[in-house]
Symmetry: C2
Subunit: 148 residues, 2 copies
């Protein structure tokens, strides 16, 4: 079969059209969609897919480490098919979520363990600011404090 199917089987998950569609969608985007985003994106090609299936599938994928779940504070979860942990930056203006790379993340991990005595399993490094596009559009202060 194809690679994705083999990978799902290797993780102990049955291969279904829904799972393939969800995983392929996630692999082909850098936008960190929510469950609802995925549902809407798959509707045209998979009109009978259920939102409940999206949620359960994402949870299964997370359980076996195929995707990571982000909580950036927008009231829902966003998903990233990248397996290795990396920082994210969120535009407080257009709500885009972008991956980037920080040097020495392992050192932070280590430092956190030393400072706290925790056995550190993972981290979520989130930055918030204004993306270049919003800066260019002059939107320098879109959601500074939502309630102002």
């Amino acid at each position: 079969m194809n690679d994705i199917a083999d990978m799902l089987r290797a993780k102990g998950l049955k291969v279904t059209p829904q799972r393939l569609a969800i995983y392929q969608l996630l692999c082909g985007t850098t936008t960190h969609p929510s469950a609802e985003d995925i549902y809407k994106a798959l509707m045209p090609t998979n009109p009978t897919i259920s939102l409940a299936t999206i949620y359960k599938t994402l949870d299964s994928f997370r359980s076996v480490g195929l995707v990571q779940e982000l909580s950036v504070g927008n009231g829902r979860s966003n998903y990233d098919a990248a397996v290795h942990t990396h920082p994210h930056i969120v535009c407080t203006c257009c709500n885009a979520i972008q991956d980037f790379h920080l040097e020495h993340v392992e050192a932070l991990h280590q430092e956190a363990a030393e400072k706290t005595g925790y056995v550190v399993e993972r981290e979520q490094l989130l930055f918030y600011g204004i993306c270049p596009a919003c800066q260019a559009a002059g939107k320098t202060n879109c959601n500074p404090e939502p309630k102002d």
Copy 2:
């Protein structure tokens, strides 16, 4: 008046018993309570306080920078009266949220700005692991993957 009252006035907020109670509670704890936690904690002394007031007050406080809101992925917001940004570590076993200090956080901020082109406003550095108490209790793998 007292310091808290003056601070609220200085931020342009009216001083009410509810606001004083909420702020004092937050200042006197390191547990990062949720709105619901605060509501329950204040019930004995403020039996008529409304949950809606808690939410609105926390939002006002956040708007003026008196508290910071955390999204650690537990489906609700947790609040911290500390104004300066600092990392948090979450026990995946007992769900405790603990403050700690990391060196060179400003450098990360700077590096994020350089790597992404964003104007970086703030960050939320979250680590997940097993706290010393849970380790001592032998709970080394409590919520590794909630759905397993």
